[in-house]
Each structure stands twice: as structure tokens, then as C-alpha cells.
């Protein structure tokens, strides 16, 4: 079986909070397969249901109807709950609210302690996990001495130490500064590349999604787009209609295309964009002096 996550016709309704309010249907029939080793970004506006979807992958929430299977385990099967949570580790938005211990290495060990892993193996897995996220030298620090990005990397190490097949990150960078965001994303991508860990990254940053191998766009409880990032982002109009932005470079390429220049809108990285622009300008009739800067608006 190649699919690590299988979601079939998933519906989820939050029960009404009181008699006057209506129950809110957040997920309206989701079908999604995620293959082993994939890195998938789930994009969506606030209220699109992306976080609710993430919570189903770890049995924090159970489907109202439909079925979610992770690593061959039905999430509704309570007897295999720990097995499920061990194979699908979860990282949350606020690093402060998911760190349990006042010492970094003990926090990384928390899941292993709960699972009753013997000391020697635990020591090794904790050290390996801390090295993998580049936090080994901080192992004896208190989390309160760390920056947001470092704390989030400790939280990731806590998940890695469980050696899960799959890591689900629910907006892990939303509370971080740009530097912290970069560190966390690099760590996540490294896990995917080097350990073949399946990554499900819930985010609303286009630039983060662009780094994943596959992008799933959600709107109002449904999957609206699904595919490689360059394909998804080239659907500029669809994305805009559901209130999402596209990465700046894609937007530029799209605007240029709309203006009649031939540039592929499947441009997502800055390097690609620079290259495409060079090609584009190279083809233009050269009526500029060779030494002048061709991006200068005055020319």
C-alpha cells in the first residue's frame, strides 16, 4: 500500500454550541490520498477547514461521517489510538503551549517516556532527534531561554523522536519571525528529504506551500485545487476568487502574461522568475544601451 493517508468522503460538523446556533459543517466531503514520502502543503483561508482536517489525521477529532485511515489504522479505532498517534506526529501553532518540560531534552523525551521506551534507546533517540533539528547544544536549556523558532524546532524534535512515518504541522510558523520561519521550514524539508518522512504542512503562506512537492487548496470545507505547486499557483484567478494570494513571483509572471508577454505563469521560485525574466528581456528588441539597468522604469 503506497498511500499513508487515505481520506474518504470525510464530513465533519461541529455540534451547535447552544440552542440558538446552528451546527457548523466544517468539512463537506473530502477525498484525499497522500503517498508515503510526499510533502504536501494544505492551503486555505481562515475557516476553510484546513486545521480541522489536520486534527482528523491524528484522531483529535473523529469524522461525523466518512473514514480516515493513517498508516493502515482507522482513526476511529480507539484500541489503536497510541499506535496511530505514534505514526502520525503532530506539531501545533504555538510552541509555548506544546512544550511540557522545563528542560529541552526532557521535553523531546516526553513521548518516549509515555510509550515506555527503555532508557538506553530513549537517550539515543532523543540525542538523534536534537541533532536532526540542530538543537543538540541547547539540550540542557530551559525552553523559556529559546527563541520562537528554536522552541518550534524542539517541538519538532519531540515528534521526530517518536519516529513517526508522517508529521503533521498545523501552521507551525504562524507565530514566528521570518528567521524562525526559515529555520522551521528548512528542518521540515530536511526530514522529508533525508528520512523520507511524509509531511503534511498546514499553512496560509504561499511561499511555504511553494516549497512542498504538492499543494492542496481548501475552501469552505472542500478541496478545490490539488497538484504540483506550479500547476496550482498558475490558477491565479481561482486562487484569487477564494481570497488567497499567489506567491509574488507567480503574480508578477501572471500579470506579465496578462499584459501580453510570453512568460510561463508556472513560476514559483525567485530563481525561476529571474531566469524567465532574463529570457523574456533577452528576446525583447534591444534598444537599451548595454550598460543600463533593464529593470529601471525610466528606460
Amino acid at each position: 500500500m503506497d498511500n499513508i493517508i487515505e481520506i474518504r468522503d470525510l464530513h465533519f460538523t461541529y455540534p451547535a454550541e447552544d440552542e440558538d446556533s446552528q451546527p457548523a459543517e466544517v468539512l463537506k466531503g473530502i477525498d484525499l490520498d497522500i503517498k508515503k514520502g510526499e510533502s504536501v502543503a494544505v492551503l486555505g483561508h481562515n475557516g476553510s477547514g484546513k486545521s480541522t482536517l489536520a486534527k482528523h489525521l491524528n484522531a483529535i477529532l473523529l469524522p461525523t461521517s466518512g473514514k480516515v485511515t493513517v498508516n493502515g489504522i482507522d482513526t476511529a479505532d480507539e484500541s489503536r489510538l497510541f499506535e496511530l498517534r505514534q505514526s502520525a506526529g503532530m506539531v501545533f501553532q504555538n510552541p509555548d503551549n506544546q512544550i511540557v518540560s522545563s528542560i529541552v531534552e526532557e521535553d523531546v523525551a516526553f513521548a518516549l517516556e509515555n510509550l515506555g521506551v527503555p532508557y538506553e534507546e530513549m537517550r539515543k533517540r532523543v540525542d538523534d532527534a536534537l541533532r536532526a533539528v540542530n538543537m543538540y547544544e541547547y539540550r540542557l536549556h530551559s525552553p523559556s531561554q529559546l527563541s520562537g523558532g528554536q522552541k518550534q524546532r524542539v517541538a519538532i524534535a519531540g515528534v521526530i523522536a517518536m519516529e513517526p512515518e508522517c508529521m503533521i504541522l498545523d501552521e507551525p510558523t504562524a507565530m514566528l519571525d521570518p528567521q524562525g520561519r526559515k529555520e522551521v521550514l528548512a528542518t521540515v524539508q530536511k526530514m522529508n528529504r533525508e528520512k523520507g518522512m511524509t509531511i503534511v504542512l498546514i499553512t496560509h503562506y504561499m511561499e511555504e506551500a511553494a516549497q512542498c512537492g504538492r499543494v492542496v487548496v481548501m475552501d469552505k470545507g472542500r478541496v478545490v485545487l490539488d497538484g504540483k505547486p506550479e500547476k496550482v499557483f498558475s490558477q491565479v484567478e481561482t486562487l484569487k476568487s477564494i481570497g488567497l494570494d499567489v506567491p509574488q513571483v507567480t503574480e508578477l509572471a501572471w500579470e506579465l502574461e496578462q499584459a501580453g508577454f510570453s512568460i510561463s505563469p508556472e513560476t514559483i521560485s525567485e530563481e525561476e522568475c529571474v531566469e524567465a525574466l532574463m529570457r523574456l528581456f533577452g528576446r525583447l528588441p534591444v534598444n537599451l544601451p548595454a550598460q543600463s539597468n533593464y529593470t529601471d522604469k525610466e528606460q
Binding site: G89, F92, N94, V100, L112, V159
Partner: protein, 268 residues
């Protein structure tokens, strides 16, 4: 301003006392308290004083720090001394004025009480100065673990303690933020009359409570996601191993206790 608060007053170090097994340190501290309260003569107290001095020196922490630990208890010391000084009526009368009188016995007892309390504070400070709060929690959990058989929730208590310790800095930081936010909205927190300030304190406490509940909720979910299932079948990363030095320290302490008891029996 709030960042200056330290809890437990732990001074990291690598002295003999720092390296002792925290479980032994707790047991030794209990024996030490017993030692101080068994003897009721100056000679017994002298034995206790020697033991205290030994601990202070071995801990490698400056005497100044220990003296600081006494300061908050000064009023208590003064009151104890005064009560004993004026209320003990036996012994030779040294001084009297109207209904007040001081006797030699009263002087003896007040000095004895003060020395005993000072020793008690300094000696027990050695434990908190040389052991981090989290290690202490851990040691308490292990020492109390026999109580699990009586269904006493030892693990749960220790977990609550360590989570509380973990969140103290976080909540202090948060309180600072809320104070700044309320000040920016014109709340008088540092100034104004007592009642105004007390009322404005509510504007800090309410958001702090709400956010604490939210944090607690998120933390519980995060702990469940990491397979937390109570204390049953848990293993620990932190291993407490007793070394020969722990037994030596315990033996020395017991020796001092025996000394005090002997002095008491032969009546010195």
C-alpha cells in the same frame, strides 16, 4: 520588572552537594531538621551548627547568599526573640520596669531559639540552592512512589508541579505583555490610589486567566498527541543513580543525629 522573579533560588554549580542524589538530599534535610529539634541544649545546637557549617562550605555557595535567605524572616525572628525574652519568668531577674522583666533564662532561651531558626533556614536553603526545582520535583515523586499503592496520585501531583514550573516564565512574560497593553489603553497600574490600582489589577488578571485556560487546553491536546496516558508504564530520561558518596553523606548525617541524641540522653 517581573522578569527578576526567581523561583526556588537555584544556583547551578558542581560542588559535592550539587552532585548528591536529590532523593538523599531530601532525606538528609529531613534528618537535619529532626536533629535541630531533638536537642534542647546549647551543646546539641553546637553539633547542629557544625553540621550546618560543613554543608555551607561544601555547597560552594557564598555565605552572603545564605544570609540573604534569612532576611525575609527577620520580623519573625525578632518577634520570637521578644516573646521569649519577656515571657519567660524563671531564672535570675536581670532588668525590670513596671510589668516587664528580663530574666537570665529568658535571654538564654531567646538566643537558643534564634540560633536554631537561623540554622534551620540556612541548612534547608542548601537543599533549594543546590537542587533545581525540576530535579526536586522528580526526587519527591520517586520518594513518594510507595504511596501509589495507597492510590495517592503521586505521578499526577509531580506532573502538575513540573508543568507549573515550566509555565511560570511563560506566564510572567504574558503578564508583562498584558500590563503594557493595558497601560497603552490608559490603565493606571503603577500610580493612582490603592483602590484604583486594585481595580485595575482585574484588567490584568482576567485576560491572564482566559489565556491560561486556553494554554491549558492546547497543552492537554499536545500531551495527548504525544501519547500521554498518566504515570502507568512510563520510563524516564532522567535517571537518578545513587553513588557511594550519597551513602557516605547519609551516614555522616546519621552520625551527627546520633551525637545529638547521645548528648540529650546524658543530659548535657
Amino acid at each position: 520588572m517581573l522578569k527578576d522573579i526567581t523561583i526556588g533560588q537555584y544556583f547551578p554549580g558542581n560542588s559535592v552537594i550539587h552532585r548528591l542524589d536529590p532523593r538523599f538530599k531530601i532525606v538528609i534535610t529531613i534528618i537535619y531538621i529532626v536533629m535541630l529539634f531533638t536537642g534542647d541544649s546549647m551543646a546539641c545546637l553546637a553539633v547542629g551548627a557544625v553540621f550546618t557549617a560543613m554543608m555551607l562550605v561544601l555547597s560552594g555557595i557564598k555565605l552572603k547568599m545564605y544570609l540573604k535567605s534569612i532576611r525575609p524572616l527577620m520580623p519573625f525572628l525578632v518577634i520570637t526573640a521578644l516573646i521569649n525574652l519577656f515571657l519567660v519568668s524563671s531564672g535570675e531577674v536581670l532588668w525590670h520596669w513596671k510589668f516587664l522583666k528580663i530574666t537570665s533564662e529568658g535571654v538564654n532561651i531567646s538566643v537558643f531559639m534564634i540560633v536554631r531558626i537561623v540554622l534551620l533556614i540556612m541548612g534547608t536553603s542548601v537543599l533549594t540552592y543546590t537542587t533545581s526545582p525540576i530535579t526536586l520535583t522528580d526526587a519527591i515523586e520517586r520518594l513518594l512512589s510507595p504511596l501509589k499503592k495507597l492510590r495517592f496520585p503521586v505521578h499526577e501531583l509531580a506532573m502538575m508541579m513540573s508543568i507549573a514550573l515550566r509555565f511560570i516564565p511563560t506566564l510572567i512574560e504574558e503578564t508583562d505583555k498584558i500590563i503594557s497593553a493595558q497601560k497603552a489603553r490608559g490603565a493606571e497600574i503603577d500610580s493612582g490610589s490603592f483602590t484604583t490600582r486594585a481595580r485595575n489589577l482585574i484588567s490584568i488578571l482576567v485576560p491572564l486567566f482566559i489565556s491560561s485556560f486556553r494554554r491549558a487546553d492546547e497543552l492537554a491536546t499536545a500531551m495527548e498527541c504525544r501519547c500521554y496516558n498518566g504515570g502507568e508504564g512510563r520510563t524516564r530520561l532522567r535517571q537518578l543513580k545513587s553513588a557511594p558518596r550519597d551513602y557516605i553523606a547519609l551516614a555522616v548525617t546519621l552520625l551527627f543525629l546520633a551525637g545529638v541524641i547521645t548528648l540529650k540522653i546524658i543530659g548535657i
